[in-house]
Symmetry: C2
Amino acid sequence: MEDDTSYTISQLAEEFGVTTRTIRFYEEKNLIHPRREGQKRIYKPADRVRLHLILRGKRIGLSLDESLEIIDLYDPSGNNKDQYLALIRKIEEKKQQLHLQLNDIEHMISDLDRVQEQCKRELNPNEAQ
Amino acid sequence: MEDDTSYTISQLAEEFGVTTRTIRFYEEKNLIHPRREGQKRIYKPADRVRLHLILRGKRIGLSLDESLEIIDLYDPSGNNKDQYLALIRKIEEKKQQLHLQLNDIEHMISDLDRVQEQCKRELNPNEAQ
DNA sequence: TTTTTAGTTGACGTTGACGTCAACGTTACT
DNA sequence: AGTAACGTTGACGTCAACGTCAACTAAAAA
């Protein structure tokens, strides 16, 4: 049942539109941990997912460290009750942050909507608003 | 009818939780243009709004240049038909970008929701889900 | 009048996130 | 055996977005 697909560094680079340098840099910063075959890196689906999460994080303005924090929330690396509770709290915090960002973006969009409407009114001053 | 409120640099810094250095830096980058009284900067409500927009941009991961682009969309600095049409298109593009970000964030939130639910299930394995 | 208390202008330092070589090692063809 | 094509490890460069510090000015308070 385990997926034995694997990728080279340039395959992933191509797929996600980043350079190989970038991917190696992420490894240097401990965001990804590909295995080695000889001296070459080989990437498994799990690594691909991590890369995907990092890049999604980047798109919404997270730093690499922040993305790493979120990725770490995915692996329940501890197994006792307290750690689960702590994890749930952390996740709650992250979600709140994200909701704040959602708010900012929604405001920005509706601001732009207003400006756009104003523009259109300038163009057609005669039409009923 | 004009609002003659004005602010010092440190008032704004305090209000928005940034340093005065940051605000001066934004001026150096042509994001804000306060007037001078002697050699001191004096900030008007319009400047405050610009600062607010910049910081909102930062929170959602925009660069200063990107924020500036958006801010510029607010001032219909041109007045002919073509310029309005161009402006409307630009705004549409920005909105689309923002919708993509919205999507990323929503996905991230629902991912975290799932992880959190899974955590809770680990804690109470007996309860009906 | 001296001393705080803002504020100002440089100039240089720093940090994060990579880019850009250079020098080298495999593997795969020809 | 030679030569591409792809990979590797340093090491250094770069750019944005500030931080830090020094040396100065102006106004206000003690």
